[in-house]
Symmetry: C2
Subunit: 198 residues, 2 copies
């Protein structure tokens, strides 16, 4: 199982945002929608062994499960509508319990600390940062959990949570990347394990 | 210099398409707009040593030059507006001559054959295809020219042009990828040359 956690800093935590202005008044929700698309779709369909978590405003977490999701299309608007449908159900998420919004789509009242604690139990937490070791030289773990930020850097609080939970820190290359580009390259790193000719 | 050529099969060759329905009535122009964004932008700015060519309907070619472009933003709509502004000037492109639409943006009446002939003169043409050799094991050429298709496969005619002009055929991995994902991984392959720890 591959998992990606994307931390959204400006994204809405309530469903009252316009689908027509994702980069603007919806707080760069276009970045998060594209992250969902990049994490879960390849050219021939869905990645069934992948889950994508969005952590919004450190209070709401939305989980997209490639194994159960229906109706995920490679366009920002319909993906943002899925995010909105999850936010519409947020008040039903009480305590630790998730709400199943539709097949493969769940919403929880979890901040980043809870997400990291829960996920780290059965996977290897990998922080992606320009200061990390070159990922191309690293071993691919069985159950990687990649932690990424949106268009902003991690806050000092998030960084110290990652210090606590990350099993390794990797760099994808010497050039700063968009969130979606980082997801694509991380997938490719896993996809091509054992694919090389020696 | 890195160059990417993306062949658009359904995309418009005239400017009368709606910016509000890029995936639909604009012939998947969203795919081509995202290809421009992925090829030319990283998280800290523009890739000045990269050019992206769009070949539309095998009759119009639009060239985006990272070294001169202004006002490229990471959203599909404003990028599609740039494509439209180039198509509005297409009738001024006579014979082999380009029209400069705005800094770094040119339009030509060139089909794929002409683009390949012109570009192959001072670069290494690389076909990206699932049947190629694993790219991770290949040497990075000085002036790579990547040829990609949009959401459709290359036509038999395009394939035979590529047979004629391609210096090598590479696969980016065992999983079929979107055009934008392929661009991201090709860039990363070049970015990380010499970046590995041995």
């Amino acid at each position: 199982m591959r998992r990606f956690v994307v931390v959204g800093h400006d994204a809405p935590t309530t469903p009252d945002f316009p689908l027509d202005d994702l980069p603007g008044s919806a707080g760069r929700l276009d970045v998060l929608a594209r992250a969902v698309i990049e994490a879960l779709l390849h050219s021939h369909g869905i990645r069934t062994q992948t889950r994508l978590w969005l952590v919004l405003g450190d209070e709401i977490s939305i989980r997209f499960d490639g194994n159960a999701l229906r109706n995920l299309h490679p366009d920002e608007r319909s993906t943002a509508a899925l995010i909105r449908s999850a936010l519409e159900r947020r008040s039903e998420a009480i305590g630790h319990r998730p709400v199943e919004v539709s097949p493969g789509l769940e919403v929880r009242r979890w901040g980043l600390a809870t997400v990291l604690e829960e996920l780290a139990e059965d996977g290897t937490v990998l922080r992606l940062t320009e200061a990390g070791d070159p990922i191309a030289e690293a071993e691919q773990p069985t159950d990687p959990i990649f932690i990424l930020s949106d268009h902003r850097d991690f806050s000092p609080e998030e960084d110290s949570l990652l210090d606590q939970h990350a099993d390794a820190s990797y760099s994808l290359g010497p050039i700063g990347l968009h969130t979606t580009q980082a997801i694509t390259i991380a997938h490719n790193w896993l996809d091509t394990a054992g694919f090389r000719v020696y």
